[in-house]
């Protein structure tokens, strides 16, 4: 038996033993996920147990080095783990901006001290991170951000405002883009800093969205003291980290078709079948198209990750995945609403789980806005892949 076969066998056995059955149900809503952090309330004991067990093995972040709380797995081993988890429909034990975004950036740009300090806490779900990027006047044009960090010797004093800070009210720490130099081009003079959300001068205000929920906040910085050792990478050169990290974010947002029930099963449950076909023939056709696209998209995701050299970024192709993946997710929810009909419109009450579908549907509208709009992604493809003039 090869090493990989042995690994597969052991992994399968371990997962069977350790993954609680409740954690093998599909995630239908963002709220079902485990986000960790100082203030997180677990949905149930199974969720807590699953995080602890996976965290202890480093399998919340399988490919990170063991020294930083990871599993130290090779790419091939991590693939096996993912496949085995998929086989039993195991949920991801931890959803985390620390894992998806900050972690990769720290691994690449962080100091040894920063890695040892922050990565293990991310891996165990002890610290929940949020991202301070967008500002009221720096959305798609992110590099025009103005949150100011004034040099005070061994620390900065930060003043300004961020917006669309996901779960800032629930996060423990923030990774944040601040302006440390105003003299040059707008991409220069941006620095990437980390600080505790409990630092005096930080306030958050949830923004009520069309879904009635408030996953995003406005975040205000009023003379916030940030020690200089919290700078990641080089001073004034945070834009390259920001870009690197946005790439990861795009790949992550693009890949939201993980373990979810196939659309046609949900639709069949709502609309019914006639002669073994979905009773609404036009809806059936639309669902078929969308499911074929979802399949082709997932194949593309696998192909692009396979083509990229181990550990290398997908570059501008991440914009393709972000664009297509988010647009697909929106299509999916439009079709779910079509299938649900009047019942999908229910906003309150037990029957609809307080409008779970309607609110999720509305949430997906942000998919193609956050992390760079679809239009920005198309600009990036035009410029970096198609090399069209002036793009």
């Amino acid at each position: 038996m090869s090493d990989l076969e042995q690994f597969q066998k052991e992994t399968r056995a371990w997962l069977t033993e350790n993954c609680p059955v409740e954690m093998c149900e599909p995630i239908e809503h963002e709220d079902d996920a485990c986000w960790g952090g100082r203030n997180f309330t677990f949905k149930n004991e199974a969720q807590k147990l699953w995080l602890e067990r996976m965290g202890a093995k480093g399998w919340t972040v399988p490919t990170w080095p063991k020294a930083y709380g990871g599993g130290g797995l090779s790419k091939a081993e991590a693939k096996i783990l993912a496949k085995e988890m998929k086989r039993i429909k195991a949920r991801s034990p931890l959803s985390s901006f620390g894992i998806w975004m900050l972690g990769p950036a720290l691994l690449k740009f962080g100091s040894e001290v920063q890695k040892l300090e922050h990565l293990p806490k991310i891996a165990l779900g002890e610290i929940r991170w949020c991202q301070g990027y967008s500002e009221p006047n720096a959305g798609s044009d992110l590099a025009s951000l103005a949150t100011n960090a004034e040099d005070k010797g061994d620390h900065w004093i930060v003043n300004g405002q961020k917006v669309w800070t996901s779960y800032a009210d629930k996060a423990d720490w923030i990774f944040c883009l601040v302006r440390t130099d105003n003299s040059g081009k707008k991409h220069h003079g941006i620095s990437f800093v980390l600080f505790d959300m409990q630092t005096p001068g930080v306030t958050t205000r949830p923004i009520k969205l069309i879904s009635g929920r408030s996953p995003f906040c406005e975040t205000f910085f009023d003379d916030v003291k940030v020690p200089k050792e919290n700078l990641v990478g080089e001073l004034h050169k945070g834009w390259s980290i920001a870009k690197y990290l946005l790439t990861h974010e795009r790949e992550m947002i693009g890949d939201q078709n993980g373990i979810t029930r196939p659309m046609h099963e949900i639709a069949a449950g709502m609309i019914g079948l006639e002669d073994n076909k979905l009773a609404d023939s036009i809806l059936r056709a639309k669902i078929l198209q969308t499911e074929v696209d979802e399949w082709a998209f997932n194949q593309t995701m696998a192909r692009k990750l396979g083509e990229a050299k181990a550990g290398a970024s997908l570059g501008a192709d991440s914009s393709m995945l972000k664009y297509y993946g988010t647009e697909l997710n929106k299509r999916r929810f439009e079709l779910m609403m079509d299938s649900a009909g009047y019942e999908g419109l229910e906003w309150e009450g037990e029957r609809s789980d307080d409008g779970r579908l309607a609110r999720s549907w509305l949430r997906t509208k942000a998919n193609s806005i956050e992390g760079g709009t679809s239009e920005v992604q198309l600009n990036i493809i035009s410029k970096h892949i198609l090399q069209l003039p002036g793009a």
Binding site: A285, L288, A302, G306, Q387, P389, G390
Partner: protein, 374 residues
């Protein structure tokens, strides 16, 4: 890793690209069309393709082929799609070769496979009837008579029918039972009418007016042609999907090049965001299309249970994406896109024909639904 070309596949792809760019560029199709070629193909090109191993790409080595499988066949088809190459590759090297190697008797295999691999024999598959591909609605019958069968009916869209040395014909031998026959097109009662098509490629209508054949014309078992036909058609669908990928990709390349050259309002039209976004969207669709084609070819070679589903999804996706590439191409070329002089229109036409072959997007979406139970 799945869907990523290995070194051999990469090399094959490159050599096929070089070959077709040199031997059979789009100008070659124009020449066949403008000279109203009797054959509709260039026989010397087909011989050279056979020397390259393309004619025997899925034929076993002990029957004179190179046995490289459907992935290899698809990679060749992509390059043919880019060049709009006219050849009996699909009819002989894919459809006929698959039918005979899958279900043929030992005699049929040793009689015909070497000749298919060498390009000496051209064979055509007569399956479709009427306007649309739908084998479930087949009406051509083969009734037992003496020690053989008598065939009656009409077939449409028989690719390379008028130049075929042998025809592989699907006919009903009972309700819901299909049998495949190998028939000499010179048989009494058989007429073949070449149909000149929009894409300048070969097709024919073939009618059977009490055509009698002996029992040894049967390919495989009587009444058991359904599975064989499905396997043959799936090979054809996957390879046509690959050709559509090539044609769509090349239409897109021509278009983006044009966006960088053509000036209006004092600047290249590729500077306009309205066009940039459409081009970028098409890029994404073509990337998905490529994955779909590679997945289908991989599934065929692996012989996995869900290969028919994968092929149906791929053909559906390619039908829609390649059409989009042709449509967007002509629109972005503007007035010159409407002229016969520019190649983009030839891509639009070939894509229209190829997406119709063996089931269009609508047909295959319906198939996907049936296979998934909804």
């Amino acid at each position: 890793m799945a869907l990523v070309l290995n070194e051999d596949e990469q090399l094959l792809s490159e050599s096929a690209s070089g070959f077709f760019n040199e031997k059979s560029p789009v100008a070659a199709l124009r020449k066949l069309r403008d000279e109203r070629s009797e054959d509709g193909i260039d026989r010397s090109l087909w011989r050279e393709m056979a020397v390259m191993g393309f004619a025997g790409v899925v034929i076993p080595e002990d029957h004179g082929g190179v046995d490289m499988g459907y992935m290899a066949a698809g990679l060749v088809a992509v390059e043919m799609g880019k060049n709009l190459t006219a050849s009996p590759f699909l009819s002989s090297a894919i459809l006929a070769a698959t039918a005979i190697k899958t279900a043929g008797s030992d005699v049929q295999k040793s009689d015909w496979l070497p000749k298919l691999a060498s390009g000496e024999t051209i064979m055509a598959l007569a399956v479709d009837e009427g306007r649309k591909h739908n084998p479930r609605l087949m009406e051509t019958t083969a009734v037992r008579s003496g020690n053989g069968f008598t065939l009656s009916g009409e077939k449409s869209m028989v690719l390379d029918g008028h130049i075929a040395d042998q025809l592989i014909v699907a006919a009903k031998t009972a309700d819901d039972k299909i049998t495949l026959f190998l028939i000499d097109p010179k048989s009494k009662g058989l007429t073949c009418e070449r149909t000149v098509m929009v894409d300048s490629r070969n097709a024919a209508r073939v009618s059977f007016d009490d055509v009698t054949v002996t029992a040894d014309a049967v390919i495989g078992e009587v009444d058991e042609g359904d599975d064989v036909l499905e396997a043959v058609l799936n090979a054809g669908r996957a390879v046509v999907s690959a050709e559509l990928l090539g044609a769509g990709t090349q239409a897109f390349n021509l278009t983006t090049n044009y966006l960088k050259e053509r000036k209006q309002f004092g600047e290249e039209i590729g500077r306009f965001q309205a066009l940039q976004h459409r081009a970028s969207h098409l890029y994404c669709e073509l990337e998905l299309a490529r994955s779909a084609v590679l997945a289908a070819l991989t599934a065929l070679d692996a012989g996995v249970d869900d290969a028919p589903l994968t092929v149906a999804m791929a053909k559906a996706k390619l039908g829609s994406v390649a059409k989009l590439a042709g449509l967007e191409g002509v629109q972005m070329f503007g007035g010159v896109g409407m002229t016969d002089e520019y190649d983009i229109g030839l891509f639009l036409k070939r894509i229209r024909a190829a997406q119709e072959l063996f089931g269009d997007e609508n047909y295959h979406l319906d198939q996907v639904g049936r296979m998934k139970g909804y």
